[in-house]
Symmetry: D2
Subunit: 342 residues, 4 copies
C-alpha cells in the first residue's frame, strides 16, 4: 500500500533512488555474499539470546520517500537491545531539549578500550550510546518527563513513541528477556550504583524503577522490516516516510545521528566511522540500525557477533555497501572515482 506521495513522486521521476530495482539487485548480491560469512558467536549471557540460530540473516531497506525492500529473515522478531539507545535519547531530546539532557550525559566517544565504568571529567557518562549514558536517559524519561506517570504508563508512552517511529506498526515486548536481563545485569547495577554515588541521577529518581525501565526498553521486540522504517524516519529528519507524521524534531535527529556516527558501534565506533562513515547502532541481539541521512534507513540482523559485540554479517554488509556506493559521509558527491550514485 504505497502512499500517494510516493506514487506522485514516482510519476514525476523524483525518487531518491530513481533506479530502485537496479539498486536492490546490488543489495541482494551483497546479501548472499554476507550469508556465507560464518564468523562470530551468538550472545549467550541469557538463554533467550543463546537460543537464536546463527543462520538468521535479514536485510530491510526503507527510503526517505517510502520505497521498501526486504530479503532474508526480516519478519522474525528479535529484541532491539542497544538499538533502543539512540531512540530513547531522541525522545529525551525532543521532550526536554538538549540543554537539559546534556547536563546529565556527555556527547563524546569515550576512547577505545577505555573502561566504561569510569565517568568523564565532568562526572557524567561519556555519551547516551553506552550503557551508563542510556541508563541516565531512561532515568530522565522516567523522572523528569511527566513524573506523575506510573512505570506502566511511562512504558506505554514510550512504546507508543517507538511505534510512531516505525510507521504505527505494533512493537512487541519480550518479558522473558526483560526478566533475564534484569537478573544478569551485574555490570549495569555496578554502573547504576557508581553513578548514584556520584550524584549523576536527576533529583527524585527511583533507582529501581529507572533500572527496570532501562531493561524494558532493551527488551522491546520488533523485526528487520520495521526497524528499517525507524531508520528511515531518522534519515528523513524525524518525519516517518510512511505516515508523514512528524515524530521527532530535526535538531533532535541531528544530535542522534551525530552520536550514532561517533559512538554507535561499541569499541569499533572509531574504525566504523572511518571506514563506513555512516551513523549506526548495533545491539547484542545481532541487529544493526544504519542511517543514510536524507536517503534511507537500513536494518541488518544476524545473531553471530564479533568480539566487540557487533553483528559480523552486519558489519561486512556495511563495508560492501560503501565500497559500491558513495554513501560514506565524506565521499565526494561528484568526484568519488569508482563508486556509483544510485
Amino acid at each position: 500500500q504505497p502512499s500517494i506521495a510516493l506514487i506522485s513522486r514516482a510519476f514525476k521521476h523524483q525518487l531518491i533512488i530513481p533506479e530502485f530495482q537496479e539498486f536492490t539487485d546490488h543489495i541482494e548480491d551483497i546479501y548472499w555474499k554476507c550469508k556465507d560469512n560464518t564468523n562470530g558467536t551468538v550472545a549467550s549471557y541469557i538463554p533467550q539470546l543463546k537460543r537464536m540460530s546463527p543462520n538468521y540473516w535479514g536485510v530491510s531497506i526503507c527510503t526517505c520517500d517510502g520505497q521498501r525492500y526486504s530479503i532474508g529473515d526480516t519478519a522474525i522478531p528479535f529484541t532491539i537491545q542497544s538499538c533502543s539507545k539512540p531512540l530513547t535519547y531522541g525522545l529525551a531530546l525532543d521532550l526536554l531539549g538538549d540543554k537539559v539532557v546534556h547536563k546529565f550525559v556527555g556527547q563524546e566517544p569515550s576512547g577505545r578500550n577505555f573502561n566504561e565504568l569510569i565517568l568523564d571529567y565532568n562526572k557524567k557518562p561519556h555519551n547516551p550510546m553506552i550503557n551508563a549514558g542510556a541508563i541516565l536517559i531512561c532515568a530522565l524519561l522516567k523522572t523528569t518527563v511527566a513524573p506523575e506517570m506510573t512505570l506502566a504508563e511511562k512504558f506505554d508512552f514510550t512504546m507508543n513513541y517507538f511505534e510512531r517511529l516505525a510507521g504505527r506498526e505494533d512493537i512487541g515486548f519480550n518479558n522473558a528477556v526483560f526478566l533475564s536481563e534484569r537478573e544478569a545485569a551485574d555490570r549495569n547495577y555496578a554502573l547504576g550504583f557508581y553513578m548514584r554515588e556520584h550524584k549523576c541521577f536527576p533529583d527524585n529518581s527511583n533507582f529501581k524503577e529507572c533500572m527496570d525501565f532501562y531493561f524494558q526498553c532493551c527488551s522491546l521486540e520488533s523485526n528487520c522490516d520495521l526497524v528499517s522504517v525507524i531508520g528511515a524516519t531518522l534519515a528523513n529528519g524525524g518525519i516517518c516516510p510512511l505516515t508523514e507524521e512528524k515524530v521527532l524534531k530535526p535538531e533532535s535527529v541531528r544530535d542522534v545521528l551525530s552520536l550514532m556516527h561517533s559512538c554507535g558501534m561499541y569499541d569499533y565506533s572509531g574504525q566504523f566511522a572511518f571506514k563506513v562513515g555512516l551513523p549506526a547502532k548495533s545491539g547484542v541481539s545481532g541487529c544493526l540500525l544504519v542511517v543514510i541521512p536524507n536517503v534511507m534507513g537500513i536494518c541488518l540482523w544476524s545473531p553471530p557477533l564479533d568480539h566487540l559485540g557487533n553483528s559480523c554479517r552486519g558489519v561486512q554488509f556495511c563495508e560492501e555497501l560503501v565500497s559500491r556506493f558513495n554513501f560514506h559521509r565524506f565521499d565526494n558527491l561528484k568526484h568519488a572515482s569508482n563508486k556509483s550514485d544510485p
Copy 2:
C-alpha cells in the same frame, strides 16, 4: 580572474551558492559579531608567535566552483602549524595508499584528555591529527616515499604539493619559526624518542631528519585567502576549483575529512563534531581550516586561543555559521526547521 568554468556555471544558474551576495552578507555579519570576542591568549612558547597581535581576524571563503570572498586580515602571512597535519596525511595516503599509512598510525580519536604521549593498543599513535601521528606521517613521506631525495628535495617536493592544493599560489617558509619550534620542542622530542623505543618509525628512518621535516611542515607560511583555497580543494574531492588540477584522489580526501571530523580540534574535537559537525583542523597560530564537503573551504584566522588551543573567534564563527545554515553534517537537507539552505 574567474575561470571559464565558473563563468559558464554562473550563466547556467548552476552555482553551489546561487545567491552568493546574500550568503556573504551573513558571513560579514558573523565576522563583525566575532570581532568583539576578546577571549583567549596568543600562544607564547616561541617569540615569533607571541608577537602576533590579538586583534588579527580574517575570514576567507572559496566554494567548490571557485566563488571567493574575504574579509579582515586575510592577506597577512602566518605559519600554518597543525593545519599542515591533514595535508601531509593526504599526501601520504595518495602516494602510499591507506594500507601502508595505517600500518603506522591509527584512525580514531584518542579520548578526551587522554595523555597524548601514550600510544594506542596496537602501539601506534592514535591518528595523524595529533603530534605523534603527524611526526610518523612526516617520517613516511621522508623515508618511504622516494627515499633517494635529500631533505631539501623532499621539502621542495612537499611545498610544491601545498602550492598545488592552494591553486598554484606561492607558499612561504618562516625559518625563524622553524628554528624556534625545533628549539622549544621538548614534548615532540619526548614523543619521537618514545615512538622510536617502540619501533613505530618506518625502517631506515633518520630520526633527526624526520623531526626536522615535521618542524618544517609546521613552519610553512601562508594566509587566510590561500588556505581557504586549500579547503576548497578538499571540499571538492581533491580537485582544485581554481586550476581544476586533480591534486589528491577522492578516497584520500575522504579519509582526510573523516579524521578532521573526529580528531581535528584537539580535546574539543568531540564537542565540535557534535555541535558544528564539520571537518576542521586548528593550529596554534590561530588558524582554523574548515571544510564543507561538496560546498566550500573556509579559513578563519585569529591568534587568541582558548585553553584547548583553538582560535576563540574561529570556534565562535563556526557555531554561528551552523546555527544559520544547514551545514552540520547531520542537518536534514529538507526538514531542518529554522535554518537556511544558501
Copy 3:
C-alpha cells in the same frame, strides 16, 4: 590486674620499654600538642558518624609485655570501620592459608589516586585494605570457612575472634551504624556488582549476605583502650599479651603487617610508609590502629579527618612519635643520630 608474666619480667628488668614512665611522659606531651590541632572534618555521610564531637581525642598504648597507658577519651565507644579490614584479613589467612586467600585478592598498593573501582591486572582487587578487597575477604569468611554456619553464627564467630584479639574483653555492635552504612553504600554496591560481573567472588557466595557481613564487620564497636590491645596482639606475633592466648599464627600476622605498612592509610599510604614507617590502618570513624612490631600496639582516635580520610590528630601523633623515637621501620637501631631508643 597485671599478669604474672608481666610482674616477673618487671622484676627481672626485662621489659620492652624499661623506663615506661619516662616514655609515657613523652606520649602525654605529644597528646597535648596534637589536642590543639583543629584541622579536618568529621565524616558526615551517615548521621551516626556526623554526630560525633570533633573534640574527642584519645590515645591508648599496650606493649608486647602488657604495660598499658591511656590518655583522653579512651573509653568512649566508636565503630571500628576500616580498622576491621586487617583483622578479617588475618582471620581469613589463619583459617584458609595465604594461597587460598590470595587467589581472590592481591597484595600490592594500587597506586596513588588510582580509581579503586578498577581491579588489578589479574582481575582481583588490589589488596585486602581497600573496600573491594575487604568485601572479598568477608565473602571468603562467610562462604568458604564453615559454610554451614548461618549469617548470625558467622557473625558471632567473628565477633568472638575480635574479642580474643582484644584480650577477651567485650566488643559491641552498633546496629544503627550498620543499617545506615548499608543504606548509604552506593560505592560498595557498585564494587560488589562489578566484582560479581568479573567472577571475583568464591563459588556459591550469597551476594547479599556477603555485603551484609562486610557492613556488620565495619559496625563493630569498641574503644581506644581495647583497640590498643588488638594492636599489641599484632605487635606480638599473634599472641595476646594480656591473656597469652595464641589468636593468630605468626605468618598470618606478618602478612597483615606487610599490607598495613604499604596500603593501610588510603591514598596517604605511600607517604605514611615513607615518613612514619609503621604498619597502620585508619577508619572513617577517626580511629587509627598502629603497630610497632615486637614492641607495642597503639590506638589513636579523633573523629576529624583530612581530605584523604585519615584522622588529623592521629597522623600528627605518628609523625611526632617517630621524630622522637627510633620506631620507623628503617631507623638504624644503633646509629639513628638524634632519636631515643625508649
Copy 4:
C-alpha cells in the same frame, strides 16, 4: 684483614651472627639450589650486556660488624646499572636534605604496570628508584650540588663516594657500556624531554650533561664482593663496617631503605615487599643489592632476568633466605614459628 673492632666483638661473643659458619652453610646450600635455576634471559639491548654468560652466579655477604662470606663468581666485574639509583639518591639526600630532594621527586610506588612515562599528580616522577626519578637525582647532583664542578670533576666526586660506601675499594667505569647505553636510550631521552617540558629539572640544568651523568652512574663497574660491602654500609646506618667511616647520615639511609623496600624491584616491588619484606634494588646486569637493616648487606649477581627485569636466581635466593630465617621485615622476633634467628 679483619678490623680490631670485629676481633674485639668476636672475643666478647657479641657478633650479630654469632654462629657465622652455621649461617654460611645455609647460604651455600641455597646458593647451589639456585644454581640449578636456568630460567630467564640475559639483557640484550646493548652488546656488552648481551655477551655476559648466563651461568655467572655469585653471592656475597658482609655483616654490620664486618664478617664476610662469598661464593661463586663474586670477583667478576659487572656494571651496577640501576643499583646505582639508591646510592645517588642517598648522596643527594645527604648533601641537599630531603626537603630539597623531594621537591623534585616523589616518595611512593607508582602502581603496578603503570606506565612509567607518566609523572605523578604533582608533575614529579614517582620515586628515585625508577629511571625518571633517578635522572632527576643525577640532575640535582650535577646542577644543585657544587655547580661549579665540571662534569669530569662531578663524576670523580661521585665515584669517590661510591668507593667510600664500598670500604675504600676501587670502583671501575665501563666506557663501552656508557657509550652503548647513551646510544640505546630512546626511553630515557623520551623521559628526559617529557620532564623538561613539564619543568621538572632544577634551574640551570644542562640537559645533555645531566643525561650523560646518569648514564655514567649506571656504567660504574664493581663486583659482588664489593657491592655487598655497600649493602652493609646501608644496613649499618651509613657507617661502613670495614672502615668505620660515616659515609651517609642515618636519616638519609632510612629514606633510601624505605624506597628500596617499596619500589626497588620494578613491577615486582609490591610482591617482593610482601613475600620477602627486605629493602632491595635490582639492575639490568643481573645484580641485586639486598639490605637486612642492622644485620648485613648481600649482593646477588646472575645475568638471566625474568620478564620484569629482576635476576631469576637473585629473586629465588631471597625467597629461600626468608623462608629459613626471620629476616622478613614483619617476621615476629620471638614467635616466628618455624624460622631460625641466626
